[in-house]
């Protein structure tokens, strides 16, 4: 399969002089690690999972074709599927705005700082480097469990909530907090975007008598909107795929009382605990379609609020 992909462009472009053709081959050769990676680790498994989604496959025995059964079961007879979708919607809906808001706020603070800016930038970015790790999620679980640090600090302020991760009404908040805390990546991107905004615009606005809030609304936000869209799309996709935090905090169970059962976690349980890999594959494809549609909607909606300099609007 790799060979076919490599050959095609060469065959089509016969008119290209010999030297340039050779150069092309070398180019593909240099690309090959990536190409092989995409074919073997992305396209291949995707096709396999699309096939599996139409089968009853228990991981051990050969898959058995069942047509659309998995999809039908999912939408009509599986309460936990809808529950997991609801939990995920809540997770995405809360974590993405909170994370982006925090990232923007910190980026604006850092944009102003003169002395020690590099140090602060690194310090705020650090959680993102650590955040995806399992060990940190373990620390999170310990912190938010009954008698943990968070419990004691809140109790000291008279908020006796008990351990967040042990109670259904708070557990998802603990997982969201873990995600929001890793605001480093969007923060750095916001910071880069803020640095790109010409100083003259602020000066002009100030001369016109615009206050800080007005400057933020009429200069910063429009100028930053392409970056905001980029971060929004990226973080939304990330949030839908989020798995580690909820998995570790709930010991893989999505509890207490299914309150942290993210879509990906349920998918994982279906595949590896209930041995319903066909069903899990179908869930994966539904998620892919949902993310695709939402991303398309975000781009479509963005035409109304994203401002690209030089568009002459």
């Amino acid at each position: 399969m790799t060979q076919a992909v490599l050959d095609r462009p060469v065959a089509r472009e016969r008119a290209v002089p010999r030297r340039r053709r050779a150069g092309r081959g070398t180019g593909y050769l240099f690309l090959s690690p990536w190409l092989i990676g995409v074919l073997v680790l992305t396209i291949g498994p995707m096709i396999a999972s699309l096939y599996l989604s139409f089968t009853d496959y228990d991981l051990f025995d050969a898959p058995r074709w069942v047509g659309l059964d998995n999809y039908a079961t999912m939408f009509t007879r599986d309460d936990r599927f809808w529950h997991a979708a609801g939990v995920t919607a809540r997770y995405v809906g809360l974590s993405v705005p909170l994370k982006l808001g925090l990232a923007l706020a910190v980026a604006m603070l850092l944009n102003r700082a003169r002395r020690g800016a590099g140090l602060y930038r690194s310090a705020f970015y650090a959680p993102s480097l650590l955040g995806a790790s399992v060990s940190l999620a373990l620390v999170w679980r310990a912190m938010f469990s009954t008698g943990g640090t968070a419990d004691r600090v809140l109790a000291a302020f008279g908020l006796d909530t008990g351990g967040w991760v042990d109670q259904p009404q708070f557990a998802l908040l603990a997982v969201i907090a873990l995600a929001v805390w890793q605001f480093g990546a969007p923060m750095v991107i916001f910071l880069a975007g803020l640095k790109q905004i010409p100083k003259e615009l602020y000066e002009a606005a100030e001369l016109d008598g615009a206050g800080a809030l007005r400057r933020f609304r009429s200069v910063t936000l429009p100028m930053l909107s392409p970056v905001l869209l980029f971060n929004l799309v990226l973080e939304t996709i990330h949030a839908f795929q989020s798995f580690t935090g909820a998995f570790v905090v709930s010991s893989g169970r999505g509890g207490p009382s299914d309150s942290t059962l993210l879509y990906t976690l349920y998918l994982y349980q279906r595949g590896f605990t209930d041995f319903r890999m066909g069903f899990a594959s179908a869930m994966a494809w539904v998620l892919l379609v949902v993310i695709g549609v939402l991303t398309a909607l975000l781009f479509r909606g963005s035409r109304r609020w994203v401002f690209y300099a030089g568009e002459g609007r």
């Binding site: 228990d58 042990d166 509890g255 590896f272 209930d274 041995f275 892919l288």
Partner: protein
Amino acid sequence: MNGRFGVRAGLVAAVAVTLAGLVTGCGGGGAASGPTTIRFVWWGNEDRAKVTKAAVELFMKDNPDITVQTEYAAYDAYFQKLSTQVAGGASPDLVQLDRATLGEYQHRHVLEDLSSFVGKTIDVTGIAPALLAGGQIEGKQFAVPGGQTTQMLAYDPAVFTKAGVEPPSGPGKSWTWAQFGESLRKVAATGVAGTTDFGWAIDWFEVWLHQHGKQLYTGDGKLGFTAADLTEFWTLTGDLRAAKGVTAPEVTTKMDGSMPNSGLVTKRAGSEINYDSSLSAYLSSYGPGIKAAPLPTDGQASGMAAMPPVTFAVAQRSAHKDAAAKLLSFLVNNPEAGKLLGVARGLPPNTAIREQVCGAAQAATKAVCDYEKSVADRIGPATGLWPTGSAAVKRDFQRVYDDVIFGRTSVADGAARVVQTAQQSLGS
């Protein structure tokens, strides 16, 4: 740029979620001669790991041509890892299973039928037939018991004495559910729950069912109880919870059989129902004071039963089944191994080794031997294997109970849901 980004991101999304589908199908293969390496995996705590590794060392000394790699994890993590490894073609050779999972894995053709090994590589003559049956499915030996266990109430005598309560101990001593509940309430008055809420595990419901002449599963793998039975049982625990006799929901929801999450070990409860194969783990995790008492009963039947806490099985995809079978037989029958393993998986399955181990028993071993001896005349024969689907039933049982204790559903609705989903799980 935007369009490309969308496709790219979608692709990234797809990789993340479909990587799970990457399944390579290599495994099997014939037996190799010469030096072989096999993998032996189990779940359990540090104590169990320490003695098991020591026994494996001994095996390797006796069999220099076999190298054994060992892996262990906590219960949930163990099974997540095991299924992934088997599906990925990296199956371990010797695996540890329990009642809920043996049928599941056999049904899915993961396990080797040991019939051809029994009498040759694997010696089962020292194991009582009733216990040995715990590894048989439809008359075929798919697994061999790694021990014998029965249910118990592990308790801290100091906590109970402080409340002026003395749980029954010794031959012929027992208590009723009313006495039990009263004791828990008295303990609760001292500021700690009497026991960990025992409504979480279907295992303890099984004991209660036995006491009422019923069973969890019928002989042909169907559900043996009704929603009304479960409602009665969960009402019993619910009343105790209201009186703080059993632990609060946030403690109960963590229960998974592991010591770090145990209500007793975390000192949120003065006692806990468990299998006595865990007694040594309690003794090392909580402290040397822990004692074992029989479960309460209102009638003649104690409801408790002797059963294998774990069984050992050889993977069908193992390339070195002979070596794996040899290790299995060694763990079960070798006197020196038996001495090392002690009661890490309950009483030794081999009767001769059991007598030897209990004869020289000290500390944890003695506690298990003494308890088993005190209830020996009351425990029923090994109850049958749980059917395929029972692992899902067990998980659903605990999940629904979470909803019940957090007040998200009523006891009656929850019980009905358990019965309904269980029928689906068993039917598939």
